[in-house]
């Protein structure tokens, strides 16, 4: 009955309003950074991810205009892949996207498990998925995998 309120109170409002990874460090971005923009034409939301990779460690930041579910999801995504290798980050993004469909929580942080509460609101799952699809595409390209990048949403 109150899944939406629980979701917002558990993680979405906090991470959506006080994100830890929002805002880009440099504008224009450094040459080594990769930006990936994703949009939801139904609601007009638009998000840009900026990924950097140095010394086998990823960094990710984001910015844009989107609902709190999407912003919180982007912030949790950036936290999940922070300092990870590209291969690890690809596994994490695949695992969470699958979890949004199946509900499987294995290997997910407590915050991501909280975000899975969006599954109770089917119309909002697309909002949660948006940054993760963008990251899937960007990471595939960074791994030099153009076929995966094309098929990733």
């Amino acid at each position: 009955m109150n899944e939406a309120t629980l979701l917002y109170r558990a993680v979405v409002t906090e991470r959506g309003r006080a994100p830890r990874f929002r805002g880009f460090g440099f504008s224009p971005p450094r040459a080594s950074a990769r930006r990936e923009t994703a949009a939801n034409p139904v609601c007009g939301d638009e998000l840009t991810l900026e990924l950097t990779y140095a010394g086998d460690a990823l960094g990710m930041r984001f910015d844009g205009h989107a609902c709190l579910v999407c912003l919180a999801s982007a912030d949790l995504l950036a936290e999940s892949v922070d300092s990870a290798s590209i291969a690890e980050a690809r596994r994490t993004t695949a695992r969470f996207l699958a979890a949004l469909d199946s509900g499987a929580t294995e290997g997910l942080s407590p915050a991501l498990v909280s975000l899975l509460g969006v599954r109770a609101l089917p119309i909002r799952v697309a909002c949660a998925k948006l940054p993760w699809h963008a990251a899937t595409k960007a990471l595939a390209a960074m791994a030099g995998d153009p076929l995966s990048a094309e098929s990733a949403r």
């Binding site: 109150n2 899944e3 917002y8 409002t13 609601c43 007009g44 709190l68 909002r124 909002c127």
Partner: protein
């Protein structure tokens, strides 16, 4: 306290739902459900084709419905074409009228138009190299007659505008626009999707050459709409679809088309939808005899007054009919709508198939509460309570 004498006729409201999205689609009364079901249970045959009693009854149902719509619009039966909805009706006009346009001819729409008009006529203009002129709204979302006049010239062939805006609820001064169109011999098309369920419509008074309306926002089934147009327009408008019923004779070397309205009604008609629409019209007429129009407008006034009383709400536009769109400070419309849904309150959130308008007013989206026959002041009160709660949750209140 504003109450609804018709509310008990709508079974979807039995569980306490507060439905404030009739501008998207309206709930259906038992009379409409019964009319649709009756078509199936009676086994009524193909209208305009069959030679047995069931088919004759089907034909009679369609022609009776046509007469009801004509009476409501102050038009003649032969000026009423059944189509699939407002989007199809506007696109029938756009595609058909475009066939007689040339590069350099102009079509006037507005930033206030719903996509059915804006995109339909954009596609048509692009197809033939005509120019689309877009009448602009003010930063508050108001479309003035001056802004429309500024777009009309001797090259204008078509003017297509909303009778009532699906975002602001503003009512067009159709008579003034009709005069502007007449001076340049342009065809004046009105999108009546939001107006027909809530206002009396007399096409002669409005002065339009074509008026398009749909059933599903007027308590009828989906998949049914009406394209009304004057006789000259219907006679010369190329039909969008070719098929059965719209030809008198079809041979490889000759096609003789039927006169309007049949000319524009190819294929087997949506009998169950039209029968349902007929029942919806009966409800509408009866409700209006009980003062429904004034009651709805009073309810919209109450809705507006209560929303204006919330310090974190900003209303979009200055319209007074059927609906109010608004923004909630610091909150994305979808987040608010989700929390309202949890409270059993259904509203629309987003850009409402009106991207040009939202871009013009610098908004990325809004919420919209729209009223209908079955709403009352308690629905508005529950919406307001829900907004207060949603605002608190989204700002991190414990």
């Amino acid at each position: 306290m504003i109450t609804s004498p018709e509310r008990s006729q709508f079974p979807a409201l039995a569980n306490g739902l507060v439905y404030l999205d009739s501008a998207a689609t309206a709930l259906k009364p038992t009379g409409v459900v019964d009319a649709v079901t009756a078509v199936y249970t009676a086994g009524e045959g193909a209208a305009h084709r069959g030679t047995f009693a069931l088919a004759a009854r089907a034909t009679a149902k369609i022609e009776t419905a046509r007469g009801k719509v004509a009476a409501l619009l102050g038009a003649r039966d032969e000026q009423i074409v059944f189509c699939r909805g407002v989007t199809e009706g506007l696109n029938m006009l756009a595609r058909g009228l475009a066939e007689s346009l040339s590069p350099g001819d102009e079509i006037v729409v507005s930033e206030l138009c719903h996509h059915a008009s804006f995109v339909g006529f954009s596609l048509a203009a692009a197809r033939v190299g005509a120019t689309l002129r877009v009448a602009k709204v003010t930063p508050e979302g108001v479309l003035t007659v001056d802004a429309i006049a500024a777009c009309i010239s001797p090259r204008t062939k078509v003017v297509s505008l909303p009778h009532v805006s699906n975002v602001t609820g503003a009512v067009l001064d159709a008579g003034l626009v009709a005069e502007l169109a007449r001076r340049v011999n342009a065809i004046f098309v009105l999108d009546g999707a939001q107006a027909f369920p809530h206002l009396p419509v007399d096409v002669a008074t409005l002065g339009c050459d074509a008026y398009v309306l749909g059933a599903h926002k007027a308590y009828g089934p989906s998949g049914v709409g009406v394209l009304h147009a004057n006789a000259a327009l219907l006679a010369t408008l190329p039909p969008l679809h070719g098929g059965g019923h719209m030809v008198l004779e079809a041979r490889a070397d000759e096609l003789r088309l039927a006169p309007a309205p049949a000319r524009h009604e190819a294929g087997t008609p949506n009998l169950e939808g039209i029968a349902g629409f007929s029942a919806a019209i009966d409800l509408l007429v009866a409700a209006r005899a009980r003062g429904a129009i004034a009651r709805e407008q009073a309810l919209v006034g109450y809705l507006r007054e209560r929303l204006e009383g919330l310090p974190f709400v900003r209303i979009v536009g200055r319209g007074r009919v059927a609906l109010v769109s608004f923004e909630v400070e610091g909150c994305h419309p979808h987040d608010v709508a989700t929390l309202l849904d949890e409270d059993g309150v259904a509203v629309r959130a987003g850009r409402m198939c009106a991207h040009p308008l939202f871009a013009a007013i610098g908004s990325r989206g809004a919420l919209r509460a729209s009223v209908a026959l079955y709403n009352d002041s308690s629905d508005v009160d529950r919406l307001v309570a829900g907004l207060v709660r949603a605002h608190a949750v989204l700002h991190g209140a414990p």
